[in-house]
C-alpha cells in the first residue's frame, strides 16, 4: 500500500553534530530545522536521548539514517526499523530519510553507502525494501542520491530515471544532495546540469549541500570542507527549478565554528531568495 503524502516543509537547517550540541540546546539558533543522524540516537538510554529531547524542545528535527540497507538483496532489518520507529515516536520528525544504496549483505555491514546498478532487478529489490520500511515506520520515506565511485555497464537507466521509477512504485520522496550529484557526475564524466531531467521534482522534500575533496583518481564525498563554488553554482541553477524546498548544510568532519556553518546557510537563503524573485 502506498503511504500517505508527506507535507512539504520550507526552511533552512543544519546537520546537528556533537561539537554544536551545547550551542543548539543553550540558545535558539537561526535555523528552521536540524537534521540528526538517526543511528546516533537509536540507543537504549543515556545522554543521546537526553540531548535529542532537549534539541526537540527548540527545533523541528529530520531523522537521517545511514544504515537502513534498502538496496540490499537481504530483506531490510526489522529490528532496526522498530528501533527507528521508537525514535520517531519520541521525536515526531519532519521526515525520516536514508539513502538509495546498500550497506551490506548476508550479515556483513560495510558502514558505507555502496552503489547500485540502475537496473530493473536492483529497482525491484530496492522498492520491495522501501515498501517494507514504509509499512513498519508508518510513513513515506525520503531517499537520498549517494555519491558513487563506480559506474555500471549493465545499468539500463539513468540515476534520475531510476529514482523516478522508485518514487512511482513506492510513493517515497527524494532528498537531493547537490554535492553528491556534482561528485558522481564528475566522477562518471556526466553533466551535472542534466541530472534533474526526468526527475519528479514535486517529490523533492529536502536538499543537502556539502563539500568534497579531490582523491587520487576522483572526487570523494568527504563532507569535511565548506560547500565549494561549483556546488553552490549548481545549486543556484537547480534552485530555480526546485522552488521552495527544505535546504541544509551537511558537515561531518573538520567541523568548523557554528558561525561558519550559519554563514554558509545564509548563502543558501540568499540563493533561494534570488530564485524566488526570478520565478515571481
Amino acid at each position: 500500500m502506498l503511504p500517505s503524502s508527506l507535507p512539504a516543509f520550507h526552511g533552512f537547517g543544519l546537520g546537528l553534530r556533537v561539537p554544536h550540541y551545547a550551542d543548539f540546546i543553550a540558545t535558539q539558533q537561526p535555523v528552521d530545522f536540524v537534521e540528526v543522524i538517526s543511528e546516533n540516537f537509536m540507543v537504549d538510554g543515556g545522554r543521546p536521548l537526553d540531548i535529542i529531547d532537549r534539541v526537540r524542545e527548540r527545533y523541528r528535527v529530520a531523522l537521517h539514517g545511514v544504515s537502513m540497507n534498502l538496496g540490499s538483496m537481504d530483506e531490510v532489518d526489522i529490528d532496526y526499523l522498530r528501533r527507528l520507529r521508537e525514535l520517531a515516536h519520541r521525536v515526531d520528525p519532519l521526515w525520516i530519510s536514508d539513502h538509495v544504496s546498500w550497506t551490506g549483505i548476508d550479515g556483513f555491514n560495510s558502514h558505507d553507502l555502496l552503489p547500485l546498478p540502475y537496473t530493473e532487478e536492483a529497482l525491484d529489490a530496492l522498492a520491495a525494501n522501501v515498501a517494507i520500511a514504509q509499512d513498519v515506520l508508518g510513513r513515506a520515506l525520503v531517499l537520498e542520491n549517494p555519491s558513487t565511485y563506480l559506474a555500471f555497464a549493465d545499468s539500463t537507466m539513468t540515476e534520475a530515471a531510476f529514482l523516478s521509477a522508485l518514487c512511482e512504485r513506492t510513493g517515497c520522496y527524494l532528498l537531493l544532495d547537490v554535492n553528491n550529484i556534482y561528485v558522481s557526475a564528475t566522477n562518471h564524466g556526466l553533466d551535472p546540469d542534466d541530472w534533474l531531467d526526468g526527475l519528479p521534482l514535486e517529490r523533492v522534500r529536502q536538499v543537502h549541500l556539502a563539500g568534497h575533496s579531490q582523491g587520487r583518481d576522483m572526487l570523494i564525498d568527504t563532507h569535511d570542507a565548506p560547500v565549494p563554488d561549483p556546488v553552490w553554482q549548481l545549486h543556484a541553477r537547480f534552485a530555480a527549478r526546485l522552488g521552495h524546498v527544505a535546504t541544509m548544510i551537511e558537515r561531518d568532519d573538520h567541523i568548523p565554528a557554528l558561525g561558519d556553518l550559519l554563514a554558509e546557510l545564509q548563502r543558501a537563503r540568499d540563493i533561494a531568495a534570488v530564485a524566488a524573485r526570478r520565478a515571481a
Binding site: E39, M42, V43, D44, G45, G46, R47, P48, L49, D50, S67, N69, S72, M73, D77, Y80, W102, T103, G104, I105, D106, G107, F108, N109, S110, H111, D112, L114, P117, T119, E121, A122, A125, T148, Y149, L150, A151, N187, G215, D217, M218, I220
Partner: protein, 245 residues
C-alpha cells in the same frame, strides 16, 4: 551475474576477503579505503586512551589487524570493536595494562548509551528479611578483575597528566563501570569487593554475601563490613532496588 551474486562479490572486495577483478579498480579502491578508514576511526574513537598509551603507530597497526580479522555485522558501528581488548590481551600477554585500559575505554563507551534506570537511595533500603534480600543493580554495571594499574593510567591520560608507569598490582583488585544518571563512572575495587559484586550480580542473597564477608573478617565484623559495602554501592548509585527472596 545476478544482483545477489554481484553484491556478495562487491562486499568481499570491499572488506578485502575477495579480489577487485570484477570491478573498476579505481572506484573499488575508494570503497575499500572508506571501509577500512571508517572502522579504524571507530576504534580510535572508542579506545582513545589506549591509543594515547600505545602511540598512534602501534595502535593503528593493531586496529588494522583487527579490521582484517573482524568484519562488522551490526547496523550500528558502536557495536564494532567489542573484541579489541581481547585481541590486545593476546598481543601483549605480559603487559596487562594495555588490554585492561582498552577494556575500561570500551566499558565506559558501552554504558554511555545503555538503558536508563534510577538508583535507589539509602532511605528506601528497607527489608523484612535482609538475609533473603537480593540486590538488583542498574543495568549499566559491569566489572573486571585487574592485574595492572590501568585505572591510574586511564585517569592520568584523561587529566592530560603524566601517566604512571605500568606496574602489576601488589594486591588483586578490579574496576567497576556504571552510569549514574547521564554520566559514566568507574571505581577501583579491592579483591573482596570484586568477589562480593561477582556474587551479587550472579543473584546471591545479601545473607550469602554476609557469609562470604564473615569468612574473611570473622563473624564479629560482618555487620560493619556488610553495612559499609552496601552504603558504598547505594551511595555510588549502583543499586536499583531490593528484591525480597
Amino acid at each position: 551475474m545476478n544482483l545477489d551474486q554481484w553484491q556478495r562479490r562487491f562486499a568481499a572486495s570491499v572488506s578485502g576477503t575477495g579480489g577487485h577483478a570484477d570491478f573498476d579498480t579505481r572506484g573499488m579502491r575508494v570503497y575499500a579505503n572508506n571501509y577500512r578508514g571508517q572502522l579504524i576511526t571507530a576504534l580510535r574513537d572508542v579506545y582513545a586512551k589506549t591509543r594515547l598509551w600505545l602511540g598512534d603507530e602501534a595502535f593503528d597497526g593493531h586496529a588494522a589487524r583487527y579490521v582484517d580479522a573482524h568484519a562488522p555485522s551490526s547496523w550500528t558501528i558502536d557495536a564494532y570493536g567489542h573484541d579489541f581488548p581481547e585481541m590486545l590481551e593476546e598481543a601483549y600477554p605480559d603487559d596487562p595494562d594495555v588490554s585492561e585500559l582498552a577494556w575500561l575505554d570500551g566499558a565506559l563507551r558501552q554504558v554511555f548509551s545503555g538503558a536508563d534506570a534510577a538508583a535507589v537511595d539509602a532511605a528506601a533500603l528497607v527489608a523484612d528479611d535482609w538475609d533473603r534480600v537480593e540486590l538488583v543493580f542498574v543495568p549499566s554495571i559491569r566489572f573486571r578483575r585487574l592485574r595492572s594499574n590501568a585505572v591510574a593510567i586511564w585517569k592520568a591520560l584523561a587529566d592530560e597528566a603524566m601517566p604512571p608507569g605500568s606496574v602489576e598490582l601488589k594486591a588483586a583488585g578490579g574496576v567497576r563501570v556504571w552510569r549514574r544518571e547521564l554520566s559514566p563512572q568507574f571505581a577501583s575495587m579491592d579483591a573482596h569487593e570484586c568477589d562480593c559484586l561477582d556474587l551479587a550480580l550472579a543473584g546471591a542473597t545479601f545473607g550469602e554475601i554476609c557469609e562470604l564477608l564473615g569468612r574473611w573478617h570473622g563473624p564479629g565484623s560482618v555487620a560493619v563490613e556488610a553495612g559499609t559495602l552496601l552504603r558504598t554501592w547505594v551511595g555510588d548509585g549502583l543499586v536499583r532496588r531490593l528484591r525480597q527472596g
